[in-house]
């Protein structure tokens, strides 16, 4: 879906999320405001994807075993 909006106009996603266009700088940088419930996380995409990948790399069903000193899984190179 692609929508055209002017500065000051907004879109709503579902009942709870409102995104308002606040400013367009030099015709290429858009500043917008987001209103969303506290349980909705809002992040820049590239940062979020970085954290997603690192969380997956750091998480393991073997985490408790590692903590107990029972795991030798230090699989370097399993980066995502």
């Amino acid at each position: 879906m692609v929508l055209r909006r002017k500065v000051g106009e907004a879109i709503r996603i579902g009942d709870d999320i409102k995104i308002t266009i606040q400013e367009v700088q030099n015709g290429r940088i858009v500043r917008f405001g987001i209103e969303a419930p506290a349980e909705v996380a809002v992040h820049r995409l590239e940062i979020y994807e970085l954290i997603q990948a690192e969380n997956r790399a750091a998480s393991s069903a073997d985490a408790l075993a590692w903590l107990k000193g029972e795991s030798d899984d230090t699989g370097a190179g399993e980066d995502e």
Partner: protein, 142 residues
């Protein structure tokens, strides 16, 4: 509410009940409820998802002597934790022992904030480039 049997040191979250992450953890959207399991190894604790077995993280408390002041929470983040201010929050960092053969790394870009009073948590994602995602926390145990 599900009770999780845990054994904690004084530095660890003291509650034996589950912690709810209303925003989830990035990469594990279905895992919102976590328990903490302390195995008597220093100041590290396992944060284990109750919903998703593979979502298990090793955490350690934020060390101000190494990392400086704890991060700050904005109003929305405090609302998510249902706390009034930063003094009610305990900060921890996620360790990664699985990515480097020499070092256990710490993700300083996305620390964990916990409220022991509301039993809620969030992973704070810090977009600033000066926060390391694989900070060398300690050498791998031999």
């Amino acid at each position: 509410m599900t009770q999780v049997q845990v054994k904690m040191s004084n530095e660890m979250p003291q509650s034996a009940v589950e912690f709810l992450f209303p925003q989830g953890i990035a990469g594990f959207p279905d895992a919102m409820r976590y328990g903490f399991i302390y195995e008597g190894k220093g100041n590290m604790v396992c944060m284990q998802s109750i919903d998703c077995p593979e979502a298990a993280f090793i955490l350690t408390p934020w060390d101000e002597s190494r990392l400086g002041e704890v991060p700050r929470l904005n109003r929305e983040q405090c609302n998510s934790l249902e706390v009034e201010g930063a003094s009610e929050v305990m900060w921890m960092v996620v360790l990664n022992p699985f990515i480097d053969t020499e070092w256990v790394t710490a993700n300083l870009k996305a620390p964990i904030a916990l409220s022991e009073s509301t039993h809620k948590g969030i992973q704070l994602i810090r977009p600033e480039p000066d926060h390391e995602i694989r900070y060398h926390w300690m050498p791998q145990p031999k």
